[in-house]
Amino acid sequence: MSDVGFHLAFWSLSAITIGAALMVVVSRNLIHAVVFLILSFIGVAGLYLTLSAEFIAVVQILIYVGAIAVLMLFAIMLTPRAGRDNSETGMRLPALVLMGLIIAAGTFIGLETDWGSMRGEAIDNQARIIGESLINEFVLPFEVAAVLLTAALVGAIALAREDPEDGSLHYASLLEEGLISPDEPSDAAPLSGTPGGGD
């Protein structure tokens, strides 16, 4: 890839990424903000591609666009009021301070790093190399992350699960215990707890 194509790709992708990231903050509608966030993620994936890191680029799309953004959209939809309004919060000052710190740190690292010593050529078969180093060199962090995710999974289930013996009123169980009779009008039936529907 010669210079023209690379520069074209780099500058347009950077413009997309930064512009979209800006719109995430500026946009008043929360769903619009998430859509711009997705665009920003895709721009970052494109930047990875210009660095010949195709594995990370694809994983970026798979995880951030395919999973995290979808979960964000889902969370917004399931929260009654949040779907409409990306309103003012009291977090403006801390966010500004944090942003300044991050920019300062990024600038510092960028100036201090000896970029000339970075290797220029692309690595073939990155997936294999990343997998091997995850299993050999970084096996402890990898396992810790796995345990953390499992704990999060179990915790989410424990929080969200309806315990049938814990006071949740199923029409069928009420019927069985004789608390209501089948003659009662059907609109008294709480239609909650349809299995598998709510997730």
């Binding site: 010669s2 769903i31 859509v35 798979l62 999973a67 089948p182 039936a189 349809t194 997730d199």
Partner: protein, 425 residues
């Protein structure tokens, strides 16, 4: 493997592309042109195929349902899809006043992107692939997972409760069925030791077998999960017309709806091509690919898989969402994990012991087939018949909620007899 072709060799169209890019001096322009040529080639195959597929699908389903199907426009109704497309283009495109102004226009375009991008890694022949990525399998998953967002935006921006229901169902379904899909692909990757799609085809070629013979359950898992991801009929609760009008594209009319419809067919065709590639040997067919253009072999296999898709659509009833989720999380995911471990063990045994692959692989195939039978029988014993006998929460089957049972209960009431208590069987 075919030696690098002359440009006029129809068996390998990459020669033609190289001839054209050879005239161009600048390096970046050449790669741009070759990419454009690949995209044009894919479009040239996919576009007309789409028109024919609409006709094929309607005709075949009509035959399944003992009717004639389209038979008025053109010979045997062949021009019907063209007429339909023209009608859709000419129709007025409505936008509900309450819809989100900008986001409403986005999804029909947005959903088309992954549907076209996904063709980039389909290996039409040994050298005929727009991009032979090392991470082709991941690329497939990544690109296909972005389509959900378009559907979601469509459902939300319509400001219609049925559209929103459809969108939520799609997202719940896609997130769930992505797990068995990934597990199935991971099993394939474990077995072949590569994530490049061409590499998977070449593995099948070198071992002289189709992967579906080695991993029948995995092939079924991928097929079924793909059906869910594609919203096709056994699992199309996201646009179940008897429940929620048309799901996420309720408010779309004219060509905007047409794009949704086209993308559904396009994705089905792409997934058929991927199933053909992963499990049926792709462009390879026991040496026939030396004589017939490999891309014709792949298209023939794709057509075969597509027929199975139409078949399931024409013959199977729609599942309820809880049945779908139940099947996904309680059958496909555990069984997929079992097969993942089995594939890993078999692959390691093969590599560590230097066994003769021509003997070991058939043995492994028989073991996997046995595992498949065991898995299906166990699940049917443990879960299938149980849930049929004792519905855990059968609201609709009890009391006066609706249906025949409620009518019976009312009639018993009027006759003065005892109502049937807890009538659910």
């Amino acid at each position: 493997m075919i030696p690098l072709a002359k440009w006029y060799d129809l068996r390998d169209l990459s020669g033609l592309s190289e001839e054209i890019t050879g005239w161009i001096g600048a390096d970046w322009l050449a790669s741009l042109v070759s990419g454009l040529l690949g995209a044009l080639g894919v479009l040239a195959v996919v576009g007309p195929t789409l028109l024919i597929l609409i006709w094929v699908e309607r005709k075949v389903i009509a035959r399944f349902q003992q009717r004639y199907g389209p038979n008025r426009v053109g010979p045997k109704g062949l021009v019907q899809p063209v007429a339909d497309a023209l009608k859709l283009v000419l129709k007025e495109e409505l936008r509900p006043r309450a819809a989100d102004k900008y986001l409403f226009l986005l999804p029909p375009v947005l959903i088309f992107l992954p549907a076209l991008l996904i063709w980039g890694v389909v290996p039409f022949g040994p050298n005929m692939q727009v991009a032979d990525l090392n991470v082709g399998v991941l690329y497939l998953l990544a690109v296909s997972s972005t389509g959900v967002i378009a559907i979601f935006i469509a459902g939300w921006s319509s400001n219609n409760k049925y559209a929103l229901f459809g969108a939520m169902r799609v997202v719940a379904m896609s997130i769930s069925y992505e797990v068995p899909m990934v597990l199935a692909l991971l099993t394939v990757v474990f077995f072949t030791g590569t994530m490049s799609l061409n590499g998977i085809v070449e593995w099948q070629q070198s071992e002289d077998l189709f992967l579906v013979l080695m991993l029948p359950m995995t092939a079924f898992m991928f097929f079924f999960s793909a059906t869910a991801e594609l919203n096709r009929t056994p699992l199309d609760i996201s646009e179940a017309e008897s429940e929620i009008v048309a799901g996420y594209h309720t408010e779309y009319s004219g060509m905007r709806f047409g794009l949704f419809y086209a993308v559904e067919l396009l994705n089905t065709l792409a997934i058929s091509a991927f199933i053909a590639t992963f499990f049926l040997g792709g462009w390879w067919l026991w040496g026939l690919d030396e004589w017939v253009p490999p891309w014709i072999i792949l298209l023939a296999k794709t057509g075969g898989v597509y027929f199975i898709f139409i078949w399931t659509r024409g013959t199977l009833p729609r599942l309820r969402i809880d049945q779908m989720m139940h099947f996904c999380w309680k059958f496909l995911v555990p069984v997929g994990l079992v097969f993942l471990v089995a594939a890993a063990v078999e692959r390691t045994l093969l590599l560590e012991n230097n066994w003769d692959a021509s003997i070991a692989l058939p043995v492994f195939g028989i073991i996997n087939a046995g595992l498949t039978v065991v898995a299906v029988v166990t699940w049917a014993k443990l879960s299938g018949t149980e849930s049929q006998k004792l519905p855990s929460n059968a609201i609709m089957a009890r009391g006066r909620v609706g249906g025949l049972r409620a009518a019976q209960a009312i009639r018993v009431d009027e006759l003065g007899a005892e109502p049937v208590a807890g009538g659910g069987d």
